[in-house]
């Protein structure tokens, strides 16, 4: 999960490495994901999200489909 200044830079980076371009997440989406995933990390109740919870967290910020499904093999 790397930062890029623009989607054009993502495309150039992937092309140079022969990698497919995968989803690009906005800074706002990434911040919301950080809060949802890690906001309670230092509390006794913290736990790694189970697959259904992961799908819900991703869906709430608009990230849906097989790429974001931890149990999918159809990405």
């Amino acid at each position: 999960m790397l930062f890029f200044r623009s989607e054009e830079n993502v495309e150039a980076w992937c092309l140079e490495r022969g990698l497919p371009k995968r989803p690009v997440v906005t800074l706002e989406q990434q911040w919301r994901l950080a809060l949802a995933w890690y906001g309670d990390r230092l509390s006794p109740e913290a736990h790694r999200p189970k697959p259904a919870e992961m799908r819900r967290i991703f869906a709430e910020i608009g990230l849906e489909g097989p790429f974001w499904d931890p149990e999918s093999d159809a990405f």
Binding site: L2, S6, V10, W31, W37, L42, P44, R48
Partner: protein
């Protein structure tokens, strides 16, 4: 609280305080357990995807979002500098510490510096995006690459 949760919290509190994940000896001293017991706890936390260990099986490489090694993602919070494992984790350090922060990283294509600020629960700063090269189902196949 079970022993592994207790150990996990001790690891995270040590890391938040010192900026680096603790050695097994440091955790033995902090928890009053022997270091063999701590190493076994590290292994269970690794198996449960809470920690990532180095090849020696006892050095913490990642206590996500914190990194045990220097990376291009530097995060300043309350006068302390942390290293994050990835772009997601760079934002997650202020989120986990419930604090404002400053993130200094780079565009991986141009290597241009990036600066982001977390202020009052919002993120501001240079225009940028985050690219996910690996599908969620494969993240833990090689979490360091992910």
């Amino acid at each position: 609280m079970d022993q592994d949760t207790d150990l996990k919290l001790a690891i995270y509190r040590h890391t938040a305080e010192t900026t680096r994940p603790p050695s097994a000896e440091e955790m033995a001293s902090a928890t009053g357990r022997d270091s063999h017991e701590i190493r076994e706890g590290y292994q269970r936390l690794f198996a449960n995807r809470v920690l990532v260990l180095e090849g020696d099986g006892e050095t913490i490489r990642m206590a996500p979002p914190f990194s045990g090694v220097e990376t291009q993602h530097r995060v300043q919070v309350a006068g302390k500098q942390y290293f994050a494992n990835c772009a997601w984790d760079a934002l997650a350090i202020p989120a986990a510490l419930h604090s404002d922060g400053e993130i200094r990283s780079r565009c991986e294509q141009t290597l241009e510096p990036l600066q982001l600020l977390v202020r009052g629960g919002r993120v501001l700063g240079d225009e940028c995006v985050v690219h996910y090269a690996v599908p969620a189902a494969l993240w833990w196949d090689d979490i360091v690459y992910t």
